[in-house]
């Protein structure tokens, strides 16, 4: 039983990261029509930024949660302005290819600088230790990650689906020309959306730093799993991305308990099944 709950907890943690990353991908895709292949690299940059702040500058976890998304998000703004903005009139595939190239550059540079072994990041003192729940031991930091990612995901959902700003965003997703005609600065909104998505990836990176080691390749394989999550959920719905992320994490955790050999392929298998039964994804509509 202990082992089962342990794996479910790990699954839930992984699911929290799947949800945050696929949410960012969905938001970016919605407005920019670009699949951000650099999402994994930007997540890794978030973790490194937090590590740098702690070990070189002496700024701790809580401030890193605030500073990192802004810093990495600003790099995202720069990428959007200087490169992605030139591609909007072209086939969507070019956006994928460009961000793939960016991911290679970022990961290569970090690997040159830091090698491929992981760097440790301490759990903040306030969240060290854990609680014994009777049926399992719950480390405080892991509980925090689940709660915090839920808050982040749900507030993103709230902003996009329930506020005026979000309604502009959704309108621009449907018909950018019309929204622009109403006097809303769509290009600036597109830039900020990309920056926001990148910042979200960086935030996930900071939260991941104490759990997984800070490693230049930590986002490389993760992003492929997140792509599968996105295919399963479909990118039409924000809530869909969140739900799919968490539930696939749990499915993965269960598999690790029941049949460990299949644990790193189970999400891909689910993707194949979903494609056979419901090609547009569980929450998707065809774009």
């Amino acid at each position: 039983m202990q082992a089962l709950f342990g794996q479910l907890l790990i699954g839930l943690i992984n699911g929290a990261f799947y949800a945050m990353l696929s949410l960012g991908l969905a938001v970016i895709f919605g407005l920019l029509n670009i699949i951000n292949f650099a999402h994994g690299a930007q997540y890794m940059m978030g973790a490194f930024c937090a590590w740098f702040l702690l070990t070189k500058v002496g700024i701790g976890y809580w401030w890193a949660l605030l500073i990192t998304p802004i810093a990495v998000g600003a790099i995202g703004l720069l990428i959007e302005r200087t490169m992605l903005a030139r591609l909007y009139k072209l086939d969507h595939l070019y956006g994928l290819l460009l961000t793939f190239g960016l991911a290679l550059i970022i990961q290569g540079v970090f690997r040159n600088e830091f090698g491929s072994s992981g760097l440790p990041y301490q759990i903040p003192a306030e969240l060290a230790g854990g609680i014994n729940l009777g049926f399992m031991y719950l480390p405080k930091y892991r509980a925090w990650v689940i709660v915090a990612s839920l808050i982040v995901c749900l507030s993103t959902w709230y902003v996009i689906e329930r506020t005026k700003l979000g309604s502009y965003l959704r309108a621009a997703t449907e018909n950018p020309a019309l929204v622009q005609a109403f006097g809303i600065n769509v290009p600036r909104m597109v830039t900020l959306t990309y920056g926001f998505g990148v910042g979200l990836a960086a935030l996930a990176g900071v939260m991941a730093a104490p759990i997984y080691q800070v490693n230049p390749l930590m986002g490389a394989d993760l992003i492929i799993v997140v792509f599968a999550v996105v295919v399963i959920g479909g990118m039409g719905s924000i809530m869909g991305a969140i739900l799919t992320g968490f539930s696939l994490g749990i499915v993965e955790g269960l598999t690790k308990y029941l049949y460990p050999e299949a644990s790193n392929t189970v999400i891909f298998v689910v993707m194949v099944i979903v494609l056979l039964i419901r090609p547009s994804g569980l929450f998707g509509r065809e774009h």
Partner: protein, 323 residues
């Protein structure tokens, strides 16, 4: 459609003869290359990748489908070919045929799944399935994990030609490459290839004209997978090694880069792209991780400023000056 006139009717013929001349020059250059001081192992590596890139270009350049998982076909054929040659003692021609057939079969299954979605989803699905296959090869015992299958015997081709001889195997590789290259040229210029282009340009229109778009896309996918498999099987025999590198997603990215750099949708582009990238990699090998960074930079530059690729730009320049 323009109104047909004598000039337009002549054009395909003159283009075909120009292509034939260009192919002849390429074949002659490649045949002479080992005597001009080019290292045969480098040439064979570049030719295997050129065939891989040509196969990929058939799908991307002419079918408009970006597969981000083509390494699975290269690697699968490599493993099957390697295993059958080493453990079952298959002669090279049979081992290569079996490896290629395995990739073709995989292509049918993956293709049928992936064409259920379009555009960007197609890329993500192929990438995800390729990752699943990578994990399969990582865990299954017959591939020997990180070590790969080593020391594959080259054997005697048809029981006659001893492939352990450097020049013999070189000309064998060249012959297979040229056969694959001409097959792709033939396919692209057949009615099938024209329908494929029509689907790439406007799928609903092609469907409304009565073409079963899915069937054409699937056939293109399987053809591409088969030829990519042929390249992988050939590579396994040449280098006597089948390893995880060939199924990893970085390999899928590399073939995209070769085609992008050489020129998507051009006949010679993938060959040029493959030679440039392989040459670059062997020169940059001492710099380790910087290869990844430079690869990334080439990607970015190609997408931002050089979308037609080397051959595409040359062709455009040639046309502009009225050639």
């Amino acid at each position: 459609m323009a109104t047909p006139d004598a000039g337009a009717a002549m054009q395909p013929n003159s283009e075909a003869s120009r292509m034939l001349i260009a192919t002849g020059i390429m074949a002659a250059l490649l045949a002479a290359a080992p005597f001009l001081g080019v290292y045969p192992v480098f040439l064979m590596k570049a030719l295997c990748f050129a065939l891989f890139a040509c196969a990929f270009n058939l799908l991307l350049g002419f079918g408009g489908l970006l597969s981000f998982g083509h390494a699975m076909f290269l690697g699968t054929a490599g493993y099957v070919c390697a295993y059958s040659a080493k453990s079952w003692g298959f002669p090279p021609e049979l081992a290569i045929a079996l490896g290629t057939a395995a990739s073709a079969l995989l292509g049918v299954v993956v293709g049928a799944l992936a064409i259920r979605r379009q555009g960007i989803y197609f890329a993500m699905i192929t990438l995800a399935i390729a990752q699943m296959i990578y994990f399969f090869y990582l865990q299954t015992p017959f591939t020997h994990g990180e070590d790969g299958i080593q020391g594959i015997p080259r054997g005697k081709l048809f029981g006659l030609f001893d492939l352990s001889h450097q020049l013999t195997i070189y000309y064998f590789v060249l012959a297979v490459f040229l056969a694959g290259f001409l097959l792709i040229y033939r396919v692209v210029h057949s009615p099938f290839g024209q329908v494929l282009k029509a689907i790439r340009e406007n799928e609903p229109r092609a469907i409304s004209l009565g073409y079963d778009a899915d069937r054409y896309k699937l056939l293109a996918f399987v053809l591409s997978a088969t030829l990519a498999g042929l390249a992988g099987a050939l590579k396994a025999i040449v280098f006597q090694l089948a390893s995880l590198t060939d199924v990893h997603w970085t390999m899928s990215g590399e073939v995209v880069l070769m085609v992008l750099l050489g020129g998507m949708g051009t006949i010679f582009g993938p060959v040029v792209g493959a030679f440039v990238i392989i040459a670059l990699e062997s020169y940059l090998a001492p710099f380790g991780q910087w290869v990844t960074v430079i690869t990334g930079v080439i990607f970015v530059v190609c997408v931002l400023a050089f979308r037609r690729g080397v051959v595409g730009e040359l062709a455009a320049w040639w046309k502009a000056r009225g050639g």
